[in-house]
Amino acid sequence: MIYLDNAATSWPKPPCVLEAVRNWFERLGVDASRGTSVRHQEVGRILADLRRLLAEEHGTEASRVILCSGATEAANLFLKGICRPGMRVWTTALEHNAVLRPLVGLRERRDLRLRVLEPGPSGVVEASDLTRALEAGPPPDLLVCNHASNVSGAVQDLAALGRLAKEAGALVLADVAQTSGRLDLQGLPVDAMIVPGHKAWWGPPGTGALCLSPEAPVPLPLHEGGTGSTRALDRMPETLPEALEAGTPNTPGFCGWLASILHVRREGRGTLLARELEARNRLWELLAPGEEEGLWRRTPPAPGRPLVPVLSLVLVDLDPVEVGMGLEQEGIQVRTGFHCAPYIHRHLGSLEAGTLRLSPGTDCGSEAMEEVARTLETLCRTLRD
């Protein structure tokens, strides 16, 4: 099987991740801070290590790494805990529903004034676009901005966009779902990042984090409940991260996530990304003739920006779903449709049926990519006859 759906969730996970999860079930079996045994302490160390590594990767302090079930929960925690009624929030058309749906929900319930910045010809919202928008009227209170599109793979200039927004007095929430674990995120001028564990970090699903910068305001909790600490209190503790983490955590998942981060560090973040990009670039080349033939259009990366291993095809006169299932029959797993990003399709010309997305992992060799391109061409030609 050639697995090209790593933008949704990376697979297969490194064996050390399975081992760490298994170790929790077989040997540890407890949550941190819910007891004082040796096993509790070991789990406590694992979570502390996880926070420490995530803090380092995202340029913050360990106590400001809030462990969540995924980037979606992290987005909900930040947005619902920060947005006051009537607040002005700007976002981009490249966003995923993980942020768009909470924002649209808040627009309805808290009268948020939401504005969507549309990308220009480069496929991303450029710093100049944001500058123009800022000059035209009152600045936003919050900018919610994707680092890389999970549909086209285009990477936005988060450093420039974040700096402009912060200079205008806005908070910045960054969705780094496709870049965390791949690109250097330290020192980015943002207040918070939403991070999934199961994509480029190769961790298990059900893991993620909200990484709050040292200066960022602390959102109100999304969940209130048991935290294991300060048990006699009937209100949430004020200290971070406990203040924002209630209920039994996904400890086996976090054990797996720690193992996967250590794996990425051992292998080298740059080395893994290079392997992914080699496959992505090979695909890009191999799919060029099909574009000339008029079978599809490839979504181009943003000029001058780093690459991530995500690429979409906008199929001409074909339903991606059908082609995707045809590929699956040949042992090639891709993802088709809208990829939970509703707005970007108006810029990709894929509003009707979405795209066919190819997101290679670290073990997709050149031969495999040739097979993918060949199979795609045959399928699309046959289906169009």
Binding site: M325, A353, G354
Partner: protein, 342 residues
């Protein structure tokens, strides 16, 4: 003479049925699953025969190609795509004003079987697929309710009564025939005479089971070839078959959700992906050869693609399919069953 005697005297006069049969019919609650050719005819006949409580279960809508063989429906209902249960209930209420009708616009599945089939004395099969029949079979075996199987395609009709003590449908057919050997009304056609014969045989079995519980019909699978014409009786096994999981182990595979056909809506165009229940994959070549020419069925690149009035169906080697032309999973499943059988 009471009004009831006046109305039903002529059937009470048939000695094997008699006034006792009429009384038992009047006090029974019957369910019909599927209101197509068999179900609509059974519903009308039972309402006329004096059943006073009738539950109608179907999630389909009336279409113009139903009218040549299905009772109770007319052109208006087809034009407006009225749900069959509603169109049927309206006509049935006219046959007998105090008839209690329970129309259920629903697809029978393991999760709603208790609600849809509960509190009934007998269930009549008007479905067109084995999956639903196994579900009825297993539910009835578990809950001790008799049911009557019926099927028709082309010029052939079949019927059988299954009682809780067995043997059951699984004793006769441990597994559904593969899709390519299971013609549907869409692929093989159907004459109204075959439908009428199947429904009549079912009705006859029903009247005897209900009217003369002390003398139930013998265990036969009735197979009528209406063109020849000829009726054959295939004797059931004497009792439950040793290898039948339902009769010998009390296991009811069709009631576990895992085996149910799953329909999943897709994001994208008007399309629903259907994942069939576990089982051997279909033989695409045989299926392709069986489909009528107007479907323009083509088998290429390992996919069987056919045009249907609603849109298109693409069937993959593992039995999964994309039904294009609807966003409604129930409708997609009905179209899948209709064209590809189950």
């Amino acid at each position: 003479m009471t009004a009831e005697e006046e109305r039903y005297g002529r059937q009470e006069r048939v000695p094997c049925f008699g006034p006792g049969g009429q009384e038992r019919l009047a006090s029974a609650a019957l369910g019909i699953v599927g209101l197509g050719a068999l179900g609509s005819r059974l519903a009308e006949d039972l309402a006329r025969a004096g059943v006073l409580r009738l539950r109608l279960i179907d999630r389909d809508w009336v279409e113009i190609h139903n009218l040549h063989r299905q009772h109770l429906y007319g052109e208006d209902a087809a034009r407006e795509a009225v749900p069959k249960v509603l169109a049927a209930a309206e006509r049935l209420a006219d046959i007998r004003k105090d008839l209690t009708l329970e129309p259920e616009l629903a697809d029978l599945d393991p999760s709603n079987a208790d609600r849809l089939l509960g509190d009934l004395d007998l269930i009549l099969d008007g479905t067109d697929n084995f999956q639903s029949r196994y579900l009825i079979n297993d539910w009835c075996a578990k809950n001790g309710v008799p049911w009557i199987y019926g099927a028709c395609v082309g010029t052939e009709a079949m019927a059988a009564a299954f009682r809780p003590e067995g043997p059951c449908l699984r004793c006769l057919f441990p597994e559904a025939p593969p899709a390519e050997r299971n013609p549907t009304c869409e692929t093989a056609g159907i004459l109204p005479s075959a439908a009428a014969t199947a429904a009549s045989l079912q009705l006859s079995l029903c009247l005897r089971l209900l009217g003369r519980p002390e003398d139930p019909p013998p265990s036969y699978l009735l197979v009528a070839e209406t063109w020849t014409p000829e009726i054959r009786r295939l004797r059931f096994p004497e009792g439950p078959v040793d290898t039948c999981p339902t009769c010998t182990e009390g296991s009811f595979p069709a009631l576990s959700a895992r085996l149910g056909s799953r329909a999943m809506t897709l994001c994208g165009r008007d399309a629903v992906q259907i994942t069939p229940p576990e089982g051997p994959p279909p033989d695409l070549e045989v299926l392709a050869s069986r489909l009528p020419p107007e479907t323009e069925a083509v088998l290429q690149a390992g996919m069987l693609r056919l045009r249907i009035p609603e849109g298109r169906i693409t069937l993959f080697r593992d039995g999964r399919a994309i039904v294009q032309g609807t966003k409604d999973p129930g409708k997609a499943r009905a179209l899948y069953d209709r064209w590809l059988g189950t």
